[in-house]
Amino acid sequence: MVGADPARPVVNARTVVLGRLRRALQPGVVPEPIVRAYRQAGPSPPGAPALLDRLQARLLDLGAGVRRTAPDTVAEVIAALLAARGATTVVVPAGLPRTFVPGAVVDAADRPAPTLDQVDLVVTGCAVAIAETGTLVLDGSPDQGRRALTLVPDWHIAVVAAARVVETLPEAIARLDPTRPLTFISGPSATSDIEFRRVEGVHGPRTLDVILVTTGG
């Protein structure tokens, strides 16, 4: 073991396993280079209207709701969504613009995660969205918060700036920091475990709404 506990038998296991692996390989075999002939990026630049249309279509396909709005009307759109469902308790990460949801409770590091089960919904930002697959990626930045925040409440509204919408997965991977905790979300949770019939909403938020914020028309 590497770390705090210097348990001897486990140190031994490491040596034994690595020794076995080294013996199993012929020395001097150089792996062939990886040919990355696949698409590293789509033809559209981030935020292009065609990408937003595609992302919207994919998200709708996956069972998420989508609204488009200009930056100065985000708060109105959110307020309308809340009113439509009679939601009152909202939690937001500390870095989300306060103007988005006036009156929301700001998450705090010392708040026990189980208490998040008692709020109606969470509103967050988003690190990157992938148009081709309808995927949102959260990376724990201040406008997205810790992972429990977007997991325990039953409703998640994600505000996505158009400039963060890319076409392909490789573009998203290139933009992300692997050392942050990352969550890729493609629609609400789902299962096909019973007779292979699709059921939406198992353990994650059962409702996902995405607000696409566009600057141009």
């Binding site: 089960d117 890729f184 609400p188 292979f196």
Partner: protein, 486 residues
């Protein structure tokens, strides 16, 4: 069985080795109409979805080629990559353990759990923990493992074993599931119906309280990125996110072959895996974490690296090819034999075409009467190779393993009786209405297969002094075995 005993002893391969040869187990499976109906429906649906989402990717073949090369590099650089992974995880606050075999791995996990004082642990679906028989070991230590994946929960409540890699409870119908839930879950109302939506809602209520309270969770991984120490779990239901986020201690068990060299390799693998596994462009949730993140998720993190026969497989050209597998289950869903008999007939945690290779390789007993029978559970039709996202030439490897099993028989080990096995496999396929499609396709591919020799295998065959098994097309094989019967 003999957990704690030395590997290699009979019965020491519990979850990997079945009790009876494939044809005997398969005959029983064939009699199970429910199983056959569910399987046919599920595999047909997944095949259609997969074909659709693969067909829309313009660079699918380039992705497969890159996927093959990335996984090949991972096996060729395995020891070095594991050391890098370990260093990265430790640098970010995790603890890394190594285990030579299943017994050692379960001991390490039990110790990690006992250190927290927890009497119950949550589990995310993980084939590696099934392979090492972790649940049995935990129970023996007085710790209750709770499966949180819906299908795994069903399997666990039924005292059953999974029958498919991706949809493990596909052999159970909704009425059986309703009864299991009513019997075992206090949250199930007396008037519980059998609608899948209703059943899933009961599971949600049952597990939610556990997610919010549980101090420890145990997971597997789909990939581990060496250069950054990042672990990746791909899932649908959100039980994975719950287990990876809410408990204060996380123990992750991984087979050492799951490592990949670099972050960028996820470009490829995260496109190949969901499309191949469930026919989705992207699965609902993918979680990634590196060591411990202060203020977010488990603050104690253990990573257990399990050999369990992988180093032995690595030394063998067939095994090395098989270690590229990313467990997507595409080869199961396209396999005409799997579609008819399901996963239980293979008697191993790893069923289907790839299981027929991995199982004898991981147990190190390709000439064994039971595991040695698995490579014969195939028509060599080639559908698995066409589907495999990392281009594992499964039919070719099966042909070679048949040779090994036959050689074992010649050396006086109990033989798997190839002709009986071949006839059995052929009989199921040919008894089906769609046989002409499969057989025609098989004949086409069959002619191609012997030519598609892999250079390393060819080299290996020369050096091992094994006779090359006669390549045989399905049609020829069928004709021969049918003649032999009538």
């Amino acid at each position: 069985m003999s957990a704690g005993g030395p590997a290699g002893r009979s019965g020491a391969h519990g979850p990997l080795r079945g009790r009876e040869p494939f044809p005997d187990a398969a005959r029983r499976a064939l009699a199970d109409t429910q199983l056959r109906q569910n399987l046919a429906r599920a595999t047909r649906t997944i095949r259609a979805r997969r074909a659709e989402v693969v067909g829309e990717v313009p660079d699918w073949e380039a992705l497969r080629e890159a996927g093959r090369a990335i996984r090949a590099e991972a096996t060729q650089r395995l020891p070095e990559l594991l050391e890098t992974l370990e260093a990265q995880v430790v640098a970010r606050g995790g603890t890394v353990h190594w285990a030579r075999d299943a017994a050692e791995a379960t001991r390490v996990v039990v110790n990690c759990v006992q250190a927290t004082g927890a009497r119950e642990v949550l589990k995310v679906k993980s084939m590696t923990t099934q392979e090492i028989g972790l649940n049995t070991a935990l129970e023996r230590a007085g710790i209750r493992p709770v499966e949180t994946d819906l299908a795994e929960l069903i399997v666990q409540l039924a005292g059953d074993t999974p029958s498919h890699i991706v949809v493990p409870a596909i052999h159970r119908n909704r009425e059986e599931i309703r009864q299991l839930f009513r019997q075992h879950l206090p949250e199930a109302p007396a008037a519980l119906g059998d609608d899948p939506q209703e059943l899933a809602a009961v599971a949600r209520r049952h597990l939610r309280q556990k997610f919010l309270r549980a101090p420890v969770a145990i997971s597997g991984v789909n990939f581990a990125v060496a250069e950054t120490g990042t672990l990746v779990v791909v899932e649908s239901e959100g039980n994975g996110r719950m287990c990876l986020t809410l408990p204060s201690t996380l123990v992750t068990v991984m087979g050492i072959e799951k490592v990949i060299p670099r972050w960028r390799d996820l470009d490829v693998l995260l496109q190949l895996l969901p499309r191949s596994a469930t026919g989705e462009r992207m699965n609902p949730y993918t979680s990634m974490w590196t060591g411990v993140t202060p203020g977010d998720g488990p603050q104690t993190f253990h990573l257990v690296l399990v050999d369990g026969g992988r180093s032995r497989a690595l030394a063998d050209p067939i095994g090395r090819e098989a270690l590229r597998c990313i467990r997507c289950s595409a080869c199961l869903n396209v396999c005409p034999v799997f579609e008819r008999v399901g996963g239980h007939a293979y008697g191993s945690v790893y069923p289907g075409p790839i299981g027929a290779i991995l199982t004898p390789q991981l147990t190190g007993r390709p000439g064994d009467r039971v595991t040695g029978s698995l490579p014969f559970a195939s028509t060599l039709c080639g559908a698995c190779l066409d589907a495999c996202p990392v281009l594992i030439d499964i039919p070719q490897l099966l042909v070679h393993l048949r040779g090994v099993a036959r050689a074992g028989a010649r050396q006086g080990r109990r033989p798997p009786s190839p002709s009986t096995l071949a006839m059995g496999a052929a009989a199921w396929v040919m008894a089906d209405g769609s046989r002409l499609g499969w057989a025609g396709r098989a004949a086409r591919l069959g002619r191609r297969l012997p030519a598609a020799g892999l250079p390393p295998l060819a080299r290996w065959l020369r050096t091992r002094d094994l006779p090359t098994p006669p390549p045989e097309t399905f049609r020829a094989w069928w004709a021969r075995t049918r003649r032999g019967r009538s």
